[in-house]
Symmetry: none
Subunit: 226 residues, 2 copies
Amino acid sequence: MGTRILSVEDDERIRQAVKLALEDEGWIVDEAESGEVAINTFQRHPADVVLIDIMLPGIDGFELCRTIRRTSDVPVVMVTARNDTHDIVAGLEAGADDYLTKPFAPKELSARIRALLRRTRPSSTPHARISLGDLEIVPDEGKVSRGGEEVHLTKTEFRLLCELADNPGKVFSREDLLDKVWGYDYFGDGRLVDVHIRRLRTKVEADPANPRHVVTVRGLGYRLQT
Amino acid sequence: MGTRILSVEDDERIRQAVKLALEDEGWIVDEAESGEVAINTFQRHPADVVLIDIMLPGIDGFELCRTIRRTSDVPVVMVTARNDTHDIVAGLEAGADDYLTKPFAPKELSARIRALLRRTRPSSTPHARISLGDLEIVPDEGKVSRGGEEVHLTKTEFRLLCELADNPGKVFSREDLLDKVWGYDYFGDGRLVDVHIRRLRTKVEADPANPRHVVTVRGLGYRLQT
DNA sequence: GTATTGTGCCGCAATTCGGTCGTAATGCGT
DNA sequence: ACGCATTACGACCGAATTGCGGCACAATAC
């Protein structure tokens, strides 16, 4: 979560369009209008993906890319104005991971970045398998079983359980869970969490009235019993 | 994947039960009732996992394990009748990778083996042959058969199936599949995946309305049933 | 050139899911 | 024991998801 993207582009209007498109995906967007500013910004806020226009005032996109590559292996997308093979090759040699040709559709932009994130990020596999007592959770397979018996959870229930299981024993407040499961931009009733906890219990607990796994900590929130 | 498992066990009934449980997972099961036979069999058909009962007539499980270890680093699971720390330590010293205590649930057995395969396999090459229940996939030859009967798949359907089969059990989101099957530069409707899943089912599933292989995980994507 | 097959896209229908609400039950402090 | 705050429950309805048939176009075979 909190994916951060650095967009380096000197054209004001394109920068705006890019920002809108990317923020629409829920990503945080840093902007830089030149290579110098970009390097500065990147050092203060390392991004998860960097988007570089080749034609820049001052140091050009290739140089910027090489500079970034010296200190980071963050995925880089180069943006070229013309469909010039030479530019593309030069970009890839400078260490870019992908390239885009102007003009590009906002959809294409976000799709490329998403693909890039998918390709580079999943190496950090959190937990292949979590088991707590008679509960077993396999995040990769979207499976949960109690005492060997597989139980079906909905997407939200599953995410909720995974979140709790991420720190077994830790108490999560409703705000914590709303943030992590429902996203940063959710404004609703905190009782929403209660409802899903209840639904989760009916499926995960042998006796939902006396929960042994999903425990409520009155006044604080919920936690997963170790 | 044509996973082959060698089960070394002198008790006829247990051997039967193990065979059934493992074949249920789509694995090929070789059997040996003694260490001598096991060594012979293993040389003719190298297995991906070897399951050894400690109590064997003739050479015992530890000796067998050491013998196998001299020529192969195949994962070995030791089976002990009693929950004896000494046995377990001795087994691990003999080169075993995991151990099980009798009596064990078939589910636990297959879960352990699956875990072992996951831990050891990823380094190896793409699977030359994948079989799941009555389905058999041969990526190299572009062939798929259900219950021995060969079925014709189109290029896209085949790639889709292979992608799913690459990590059986893992849930693939539509984006994952679009990325891998259609390429990272495809920007169409995610519903396209649905359509091809449906077409795949009409060919691969005995009853396309109740898919047993290509399963949908609502809200997450699709996965191949293990 | 024509027929056949494969591919992508759309709209409809069935189902499931998610969020909200009113209300009941429970725990906690006094 | 009482009142207040917090949590649990059941039900409802709109929204999201997915399966399905069909259509148009492209690729390939004949």
